[in-house]
Symmetry: C2
Subunit: 158 residues, 2 copies
DNA sequence: GGGAGTTTACTCGGATAGTTTTTGTCCGAGTTATCTAGG
DNA sequence: CCTAGATAACTCGGACAAAAACTATCCGAGTAAACTCCC
């Protein structure tokens, strides 16, 4: 079970874009150089965040990506669900109903599978934690980042 | 992000083995027919549970798999970690330190990445829920399963 | 100086390819209960 | 009857193949700022 590095990329990009909010949109070229990531693939991930309404993209020569709402209103859950797709961590295939073991069960399978229920509960606990943290919280956790980010950004040529 | 059907298989097998505890070991052939699953691959997954000390395997003509400890002492967390491998859901690659953005950071990166910390906290909440549920809890949640399982098992030929 | 066209620097979306993980299959070797043959 | 060997039904582990997901790249099309040219 793994969740793809795109999630880490997306979250770092969101925090950075939050710190650079006054500078206007940031191009994908600069963002890729910022974290030393493959530009085209990062672009795809940020496009997903745009489709989810987390980022806004402005076309044109001075265009790029920027936060679509204030950092206090973007939770980690938003970013994760936008990037990992609609796939649930645990999928119940109802194997209890298949094969010899499921025969003659009467109405026993009317109620949901206990295993699926338990896994779902754990997943919800995970989602709750993610929904409780916002990009603004992450910014507050690394106060020195704001100055460093603006300083390094102003030095970027091009 | 997905966690592999092997987890669902393993949990259902554990519950079934718990209900069939007096019958002695259950062969992989019967278990695969029980849930209508690919026999060879299911075997691999149960072997992983055996390596983790959750199941016990007895070789020989009347051999098969059985629970290595009472169902009250097997948590969902045990089964999940045994089956999903050592991979963590979120892996921090420290991209904050790479590229232009990480330059001139001084000792700022001495403390752990806030994003990794937040993701870890969510993961721990998930693990805690999984560790709080045992196979015995799942059995109690489906009381009709015990009788049906023993009935169907006794009818299996071979 | 101002307006029309051109260039430039971006994003968007689809198509495609490479790589890794997951899922599934196959085979040889080891283990134990049962079955068989010989005394 | 009793014991030794053969047989059958299992597991274990590695090697291998197929399928899916993830990562990465490329290209054509659209958009907007800046730049150029011409009057």
């Amino acid at each position: 079970m793994h969740m793809g590095e795109g999630v880490e990329w997306g979250l770092h990009c969101c925090v950075t874009l939050a710190w650079l909010r006054d500078e206007g949109p940031v191009s994908i070229r600069k963002l890729a150089a910022w974290f030393d990531l493959p530009q085209e693939y990062l672009k795809k991930r940020l496009q997903a965040l745009t489709r989810a309404g987390i980022l806004a993209s402005t076309p044109g020569v001075k265009g790029g990506f920027s936060l679509a709402r204030p950092p206090e209103r973007i939770t980690l859950m938003d970013v994760v669900t936008a990037l990992q797709g609609p796939l649930e961590p645990f999928r119940c295939d109802e194997i209890r109903q298949r094969g010899v073991g499921g025969e003659g069960a009467g109405n026993e399978f009317a109620r949901p599978c206990g295993i699926a229920t338990a896994m779902r509960r754990a997943e919800l606990a995970w989602r709750r934690e993610l929904a409780a943290q916002t990009i603004a919280d992450l910014m507050a956790h690394a106060p020195a980042g704001a100055a460093r980010t603006r300083r390094n950004y102003s030095r970027m040529t091009g």
